[in-house]
Symmetry: C2
Subunit: 178 residues, 2 copies
């Protein structure tokens, strides 16, 4: 058996960045999947010298709860993803990442989105700046020891799936997954 | 600083399961976030007696690539999530999960979706059935040793972020994350 890409017969946008394709499968059937053309995202596991993780807490309207998350956000169109991760860390937390390394590129939802989530680990981050929020952002900074974050994730207290994935990429990079 | 939930002033659906809310923030500003009312999802790390992971490979139209993933899918409205995980594993791979345990509940994208991803580990799964696909599904089954899957993830060859997150929840449950 071979996996055949779907043939795109036509495309239309019903909102900016929200496309409906008409596709034909190898069995001849047609249907109309949706695709969200989101920009790429970046998140960073930022560690202080004391091995504490710099986390952000913010209200998330999809689930209508405030959640602990990794810093990060949308990479601008003309921006290097690593620079975007560093910028988001500074804007959301005021922490500066001098030493930062890419630890993975994953797809947030490859069935219906075409964007990539770039994953980073920053070490020895320091609080050297001020938070700068977008108009709809309100963010608390929390420091949590890395071991405690792993335990919180196991217990279901770190609930953003995409950030659990970034944590995995970071820990695998650091040789902490067996 | 306290994180204030946004006040929903009005809601409208522009497609089924796709809602636009008008909300007011604590600073008085209003804006219109979108919310996708997807049903809940379930994915399972299914291990054979030989500690091989049962993976599926399928074409994903968002990124227009065929990807290795964990078995799983949408939980029906009246279905127990664990039963849904077991059903999806059987439909997609033909493997039966007798011993299956929940290892996490995470939010696939809490900013714009309200659904939960239920995470499971199944052990000693056996090939006892036949694959049954939806009309738009075409799925290859691949067996990969667990250690190799961890290494593939580190190398960027297991790219579905939500399934990396499920893998993390499973390995944390199994005591393999330090």
């Amino acid at each position: 058996m071979s996996l055949t890409p779907w043939k795109v017969l036509s495309s239309r946008h019903i909102r900016p960045r929200f496309r409906i394709d008409k596709v034909q499968l190898s069995n001849g059937k047609t249907f109309e999947p949706m695709v969200f053309e989101f920009r790429n995202w970046a998140n960073v596991l930022a560690l202080t010298k004391e091995n504490e993780v710099v986390l952000v807490k913010q209200y998330r309207h999809g689930v209508q709860e405030s959640l602990l998350e990794l810093p990060g956000g949308i990479i601008e169109d003309d921006e290097d993803p690593l620079d975007g991760a560093r910028r988001e860390l500074m804007e959301e937390t005021g922490y500066l990442a001098k030493d930062i390394v890419e630890v993975g590129r994953i797809y947030p939802n490859p069935a219906i989105q075409h964007n990539t989530l770039f994953c980073y680990v920053a070490t020895d981050v320091e609080p050297l700046g001020q938070q700068h929020f977008d108009e709809t952002e309100e963010i608390e900074v929390h420091l949590v020891p890395l071991e405690e974050l792993i335990e919180m994730t196991r217990r279901g207290e770190f609930q953003h799936a995409l950030h659990v994935a970034v944590l995995f990429q970071a820990l695998a990079h650091l040789g902490r997954v067996k």
